[in-house]
């Protein structure tokens, strides 16, 4: 296990601040009707950013749920560019270009866990030196896919890191109504694999946990279930009103444990961060997001793109439907 260097921690903080700034900006853009549903990242930054900073981007795959993209900056600027397309509802938002080893968002909860196990299994068959890191929430851990995938991963000894981001809430359902288990990490026992619980607001702790899990996997010792305990500081999404169910005193306490404030104060004490660094990072984040959004808005889209990429080539049925669609468009044009 290697702990992150101070320089790495600073890079992690940059990505965390970027993610929160951009998430806030997207929230406002959604309220203006410019983008679709947004799942705010507040409170998740240390867990997601530090986890991907423990990866080797050339070899390791990331299978996100849906809240992660703004925090996956380490995998390249294309992630933000594609996420802006996705947020606009452009189909190209689902196409993360080669050779970036990141899957698009997964809305069907938990279904990405079997995919990650399949990828990890496939990498061992191809003798590739990589792991698959899969993100899912405390709520997703109640899906059958979590159990089937965790069980198969254990049986196959697949190099997968299952990262359960326990933010205490599945929309309005609190963790005690999600499971009677003492922790989500404890569920690893049923798979015969190690389960570890970390403070997900501590970037260095998450980095260490994922780094260790990755090393185990690459050494042929199989999967690890990591539970990162955090608190969702914002709404589930722009369609949610958490004041209906989140106790204000709990939220207040969680805000005092904000992962960005923690890492900031740590790096400020080391002289690696200050208000100027914070302001410059936030400004850059806004600039990058606006540019990516402008580029996404300029991306062309033809009406018959609705039929593209269903199959490798159009079937007879799709050929007919494409002709009908284009003919209807020509009638409208006239």
């Amino acid at each position: 296990m290697t702990s992150p260097s101070n320089a790495q921690l600073r890079e992690i903080l940059v990505d965390m601040v970027m993610a929160r700034t951009q998430s806030g900006r997207l929230w406002n853009l959604q309220r203006q009707g410019q983008v679709g549903t947004v799942a705010p990242i507040d409170g998740h930054e240390a867990t997601i950013v530090a986890a991907v900073h423990a990866l080797e981007t050339e070899h390791d795959w990331v299978a996100p749920q849906y809240r992660e993209p703004l925090a996956l900056r380490r995998y390249g600027p294309e992630i933000l560019e594609r996420f802006m397309l996705y947020s606009l509802g452009h189909p190209a938002g689902g196409h993360i270009p080669e050779p970036i080893r990141v899957l698009p968002n997964q809305i069907s909860l938990g279904t990405q866990i079997p995919h990650a196990v399949g990828i990890a299994w496939g990498m061992t068959l191809r003798s590739e030196p990589g792991v698959a890191l899969v993100f899912f929430g405390d709520g997703s851990s109640s899906e059958g896919d979590f159990y089937e995938a965790g069980n198969l991963a254990g049986v196959l000894n697949a190099p997968v890191v299952m990262l359960c981001v326990n933010n205490q809430w599945a929309i309005s359902t609190p963790v005690h109504q999600q499971t009677a288990a003492e922790s989500f990490a404890a569920k690893a026992a049923g798979f015969g694999i190690p389960g570890i619980k970390v403070d997900g607001n501590d970037a260095a702790a998450v980095y260490d946990a994922v780094d260790e899990a990755r090393s185990r996997a690459l050494a042929g010792k199989g999967p690890t279930l990591v539970e990162a305990v955090i608190y969702r500081l914002g709404a589930h999404t722009t369609a949610d009103d958490p004041t209906r169910y989140v106790p204000p005193e709990d939220l207040e306490a969680a805000r005092r444990n904000d992962p960005i404030l923690r890492l900031r104060s740590q790096l400020e004490e080391l002289g690696l961060w200050d208000d100027d660094a914070q302001a410059a990072t936030e400004a850059e984040a806004m600039d990058l997001l606006d540019k990516a959004l402008d580029a996404a808005k300029a991306m062309p889209l033809s009406p018959d793109a609705v039929l593209d990429h269903c199959f490798s080539a159009d079937t007879q049925r799709l050929e007919r439907q494409r002709a009908d669609l284009l003919e209807a468009g020509q009638r409208e044009d006239r």
């Binding site: 189909p91 990650a116 990890a120």
Partner: protein, 335 residues
Amino acid sequence: MENPLEDVATSDLTMLQAINETLHAEMARDDRVVVLGEDVARNGGVFRATEGLFEKFGEQRVVDTPISEAVIAGATVGLAIAGLVPVAEIQFLGFSYQAMHQLAGQVARLRYRTQGRFDPSITIRAPFGGGVRTPELHSDSLEAQFANMAGLKIAMPATAADAKGLLAASIREPDPVLFLEPLRGYRGIRGDVPDGEHLVPLGVARTAREGDDIVIIAWSYQVELACRAADTLRSEGLSVRVLDLRTIVPLDIEAIATAVSHCGRAVVVQESCETGGFASEVIATISDECFWDLEAPVARVSGYDVPYPVGMLEDHYVPDEARIIAAVRHTLELA
């Protein structure tokens, strides 16, 4: 009729032997092919479809999974993303309900939702269909449910030669294919199968019997029954064509239109429930393509709108030669 096999060396095989040989050949041809499923390795599959693969290709490429249909289907997505060519077995199609969210929501949509980033070279094999007195949920014909999942191709061979040609094509296909194997056909269908490479493209129907008065449109084991019905009626002087769809997705719309336009009368046969079955899609296609060539309404021979029944009742549920013949006679008698 023309025999496309007359110039090639063939072997007389059951459908099961043809499937097994094809799996051997495709695994030997492409080392990216991996076989996964319940009891597929040491046991060679509960029907022996995967027999000998484990011994020949080893435990890395022929893998017994836990009893977990969802992760069998879901893992194929990951394996395909990692550059492999998974051939998964769902032990009986009725068990696919436990994998439905992965098949419909993930396998079928992978190419579309990633806009072509990944080639889902995935084959899901599953036996199905009635007539062999299986326990509950072993016999259901669910093909119409899968045909309603955009992005999935569905192969349903009716002959041993097509089982080979369509399976080889399915494994090499860059799109996901559900390959459905009729239980009664495993040992009940046999015939000449070309030796060596034999590919049948997906989406090209086959004329199983030539005829001019009426066409019976069918797929999978019902083609066998349709051919028996056609042969019986031929001895009475009726000229009955049989069109074997081979794949219901892609659907060979042109072949359906050509056959129905030529004959003017049609009967569509399926094993599934009547309501929402794939026969409805075929009949709607006939209406779209060649309604004015029809001389009589199109008849449908189906299972009934009940769950697949237990053994003592299944012969009353699954269409048989007598019901097909009755539908043909009725359709021919109409003005």
